[in-house]
């Protein structure tokens, strides 16, 4: 089960966040900061799956933007990895060559 879906840039600013389980709003920023810290500290040739607390993070970097998905154990990590890529391709088609600015400015559209 996917717990959350985040788009965060390298400086730690959240561009898009979608939570599928209730998380306190105060905890959300903390969670996002920690998650992005974990992802940033990984180098290029390290595995894209991190174990964080009691669930796993699958992340993928596209230029300066990180797409991070939090999943629980029953989910197939590689399928989620592909899902991330699929999502980015869809955005690409929609915005024709999407960039981070597009994402920041069209949050509501991306949500739906």
């Amino acid at each position: 089960m996917i717990k959350f879906f985040l788009l965060v840039n390298k400086q730690g600013q959240t561009r898009l966040s979608r939570y599928y389980e209730h998380v306190d709003i105060t905890k959300r920023t903390m969670l996002e900061a920690e998650v992005i810290k974990n992802c940033l500290s990984r180098s290029k040739d390290q595995c894209s799956f991190i174990e964080y607390k009691d669930f796993k993070l699958v992340y993928r970097q596209y230029a300066a933007l990180f797409v991070v998905v939090g999943i629980n154990e029953t989910e197939n990590e590689m399928a989620v990895y592909e899902l991330i890529h699929n999502f980015v391709e869809v955005l690409d088609k929609y915005f024709s060559r999407v960039s981070e600015l597009d994402v920041s400015f069209s949050v509501s559209e991306i949500h739906l």
Binding site: L16, N76, M78, E82, V107, S108
Partner: protein, 826 residues
């Protein structure tokens, strides 16, 4: 009131903010503007304001005042309003807010709207945050939409149904008829969501699972063949542009179907048989050059492992995993290691083949991979490869990150204990672990090691010599120092006499040994526990060493005024030993007996404590609070000579002064008499509830079993102990023994304590005695009740230990009772 700015403007302004404070200021200003605009009930700009509010919510600022506005937006007729309204509802509202119930009516109307997009919006929102009441109300509508022909709506309705089922599991049956036709769709979207729906149903309810599995006679719509057919089409069909992802058509659907097959095939032979072919086909035909193919293969492997597949298929799966391991991509290797970990229990041999690759993964740079490789390596250690594996693991321990060291150390200990080829190797390994990762070793490993060392009698000299050398240089690693000081205390004489066959003996004088122990005591780096160990060790050396007794006395008396209460108590007691009880000192500080090995069960095992022996009659001693805080809870052990004997827990405090956690280490081993039940939480001696219920509550033993003869269990020095038996009618495995102790000498016996121990297959409960004084001349007796649980109807045996004061001196005796009549246990 000027028109509120657009969302884009807001975003732009926020982006120009340089600092967090600036950003906060801008946002607050904007919030104020939004709030006043809301108050004015301005319809035209409401949607814009809510959009901005959502953005600010995403950044982490409170936005709850917009909830009601969202509702108003939903109720409006414009599509854009509705869209933002529903989005806001999804993001801002959830079950905990009461406001969400107001939405129910809106959603209901929208579910019947003419435009499919509005219906879709409503379904999305319901599926995202519907509470159980909302779901109950609207489930009927959702079900209706599940049957429409509009595929756009159908797939959304299916996902909504998933959410409804999660919230209100009772409604599952309602969706059952609709699911029959779902899989006949062509549209992949609908297929995908219906597979999700079916998966959810099967996971939630085993009845559903059975329903889906069973053969339906008439129709050809059995679930498993249907799924197999769909999967086949996906693989066989040519290139279809709308579903293609890097050359494979609709991998997401394939993965979903595989997962559903896994759930259907688990523990079910028929379904598994039907799937075997297709799984083999998928496994062989999928392209592995891209990640997509690997994802599908991974899912296939998981499925094969879970269902009752034939062995050829399993071998295929493990080979695929082996291939993954050799791949360069980290992700794939990680995934392979994870799955191998899951399968190593069942297919041990197959995984062994890949052992060398797994061991190589230990050297990988990636943290996640290292962790998985470490766990897998521990699972693969067996008698044949233990030496090689241990070498690799020790090297890994040297170089790994601190967060691994504790786990690795515990794992190494466990593996070494199970598979050690020789005692010397075992001790060497332990020493190596202690010196490399000494500070990360778990606290309860220390007692284990100590027990291990005492067990290998011939290695004592070698061990103590190595330990001495290890702490000579560096005594900052606490567990190492603890073990070392214990050993030096025990075997100091071997160290000084320089006899060691295995290694070059070193010349050590008594003073040097005392020096090192004293420096441990003084050092700031030593924990309180370590200091306790060192002090006790010094004390023990007073009997082993000959020329430095005065020095030891001095050290001990210094610590009699130490600030640390534990140390102070020990020092005072030892001082008392020197002064008042000097004649007992040698007996007390004797060598520890060889301890029976306790089966280890992971890091939470219970092991003995260390310390010197104390007879119960020393009433001047305050009850020691446990020689190690960590083993406080672990004092109950079954170590009695050669056989497995369980100690006894008397339920009421006896007259012993050493109550509350006082341990009694004596020549029997570790018979712990815990005065108060509070200090006896040892898990393995927990009485099963029925024993307590059955025995304590009411007297079920009115019937004295006819003809069970009573026996004289012990008769020596004027003390006679008789056993009388009763069997319970209701529970034939319980025997109640009443002991009577009588004294035929001319002086009373005071402070009489009776202890008993039985073999492991029995359980024993001692109730409190009638008194602790046996009057002389057989003028009275002490009675005590023992209850024995004997579920396996084995021959009853018992070892008893008696301590009492007689004629001014303390007496104690051990005896074995073997003459139980057969009727008492059969």
């Amino acid at each position: 009131m000027p028109a509120p700015i657009r969302l884009r403007e807001l975003i732009r302004t926020i982006r120009t903010a340089r600092t967090q404070a600036e950003e906060r200021e801008m946002i607050q200003k904007e919030c104020a503007a939004i709030r006043s605009s809301f108050r004015e009930e301005d319809n035209t700009y409401r949607c814009r304001n809510v959009a901005k509010l959502l953005y600010m919510h995403m950044l982490g600022y409170p936005a709850h005042f917009g909830q009601l506005e969202c509702l108003k937006l939903i109720a409006s007729q414009k599509f854009t309003d509705k869209r933002i309204g529903y989005l806001g509802a999804m993001l801002l509202l959830d079950e905990r807010q009461d406001v969400h119930l107001l939405m129910t009516n809106c959603i209901k109307n929208d579910l019947n709207h003419s435009t499919q997009y509005v219906q879709g919006l409503a379904l999305c929102t319901l599926g995202c945050m519907g509470s159980s009441e909302m779901c109950r109300d609207l489930a009927g509508e959702v079900e209706k939409l599940l049957k429409t022909s509009n595929s756009y709506l159908r797939k959304k309705a299916a996902l909504c149904a998933v959410h409804v089922i999660r919230k209100v599991p009772e409604l599952m049956e309602m969706f059952l008829p609709a699911t029959k036709n779902l899989l006949n769709e062509k549209n992949h979207g609908v297929l995908h969501t219906s597979v999700v729906l079916l998966t959810e149903m099967c996971e939630r309810s085993p009845d559903m699972l059975a329903h889906f599995r069973k053969v339906r006679k008439l129709s050809s719509s059995q679930l498993v063949p249907q799924l197999v057919r769909i999967l086949k089409n996906l693989i066989m069909s040519g290139y279809s542009p709308e579903h293609d992802v890097s050359g494979i058509s609709d991998p997401f659907l394939q993965v979903r179907i595989l997962r559903l097959l896994r759930i259907l095939g688990r523990n079910d032979d028929d379904s598994s048989e039907a799937m075997n072919d297709i799984l083999a086909q998928v496994a062989t035909n999928t392209e592995t050059s891209k990640n997509v193919g690997n994802a599908i293969l991974y899912e296939t492997v998981l499925t094969i492992m879970d269902i009752k597949s034939e062995s050829g298929l399993r071998v295929l799966a493990i080979n695929i995993l082996g291939r993954f391991l050799l791949n360069n991509d980290k992700n794939i290797r990680y995934v392979a290691l994870t799955s191998l970990l899951k399968t190593v229990q069942t297919d041990h041999n197959a995984v062994q083949r890949h052992r060398s690759t797994i061991v190589d993964c230990l050297k990988d740079l990636d943290v996640s991979i290292k962790r998985r490789a470490m766990e897998l390596s521990f699972a693969l250690v067996n008698g044949n490869n233990v030496r090689g594996m241990m070498k690799e693991l020790l090297y890994f321990l040297d170089s790994c990150e601190p967060e691994f060291k504790a786990d690795c150390a515990s794992g190494i200990f466990l593996a070494a204990e199970k598979y050690a080829p020789s005692k010397r190797w075992h001790i060497d390994t332990i020493m190596r672990v202690l010196t490399t990762a000494g500070s990360y070793v778990r606290d309860d490993a220390v007692p284990n090691l100590i027990q291990l060392i005492t067990n290998s009698v011939e290695m004592h000299a070698y061990t103590v010599q190595r330990l001495y050398k290890a702490i000579l240089g560096d005594y900052s690693q606490q567990p190492l120092v603890q073990v070392a000081s214990w050993c030096i205390g025990e075997y100091g004489d071997l160290l000084v006499s320089g006899q060691c066959e295995e290694e070059e003996p070193i010349q050590v004088t008594e003073d040097e040994v005392l020096d090192i122990l004293e420096s441990v005591l003084i050092s700031n780096m030593s924990a309180s526990v370590t200091r306790g160990y060192a002090l006790t060790a010094i004390m023990k050396l007073s009997t082993r060493f000959t020329c430095t007794v005065n020095r030891i006395k001095k050290v001990v008396s210094i610590y009699g005024s130490s600030i640390d209460v534990e140390l102070q108590q020990r020092a005072v007691e030892y001082n008392a030993l020197f002064k008042k009880y000097d004649h007992m000192r040698p007996a007390l500080l004797e060598r520890m007996p060889v301890m029976e090995k306790v089966t280890t069960n992971g890091p939470t095992e219970i092991v003995q404590t260390n310390g010197e022996t104390e007879p119960a009659v020393l009433e001047t001693k305050p009850p020691p609070s446990g020689l190690q805080p960590t083993s406080q809870a672990n004092d109950l052990l079954d170590l009695l000579g050669g056989s497995d004997i369980t100690p006894v827990i008397p339920t009421a405090p006896t007259s012993k002064p050493a109550s509350a956690g006082g341990e009694l280490l004596d020549l029997l081993g570790d018979l712990n008499l815990t005065g108060s039940p509070v200090s006896a939480p040892a898990p393995q001696i927990a009485q099963p509830p029925f024993l307590l219920d059955g025995l304590q509550s009411q007297p079920l033993f009115n019937d004295i079993a006819t003809g069970i003869p009573s026996i004289t269990a012990y008769n020596k020095n004027g003390l006679k102990i008789d056993f009388t038996f009763e069997r319970s009618n209701t529970n034939p495995s319980i025997t109640v023994i009443t002991i009577q102790a009588s004294n035929s000498t001319e002086l009373d016996m005071t402070d009489f304590v009776f202890q008993a121990a039985v073999p492991k297959t029995f359980q024993l409960q001692l109730l409190s005695p009638s008194s602790s004084v046996i009057p002389a001349f057989n003028s009275g007796t002490i009675t005590q009740v023992i209850k024995v649980l004997n579920p396996q109807k084995q021959q009853l045996r018992m070892r008893i230990k008696l301590t009492y004061n007689h004629k001014g001196s303390a007496m104690q005796d051990l005896a074995e009772v073997n003459n139980f009549p057969p009727q008492s246990w059969q």
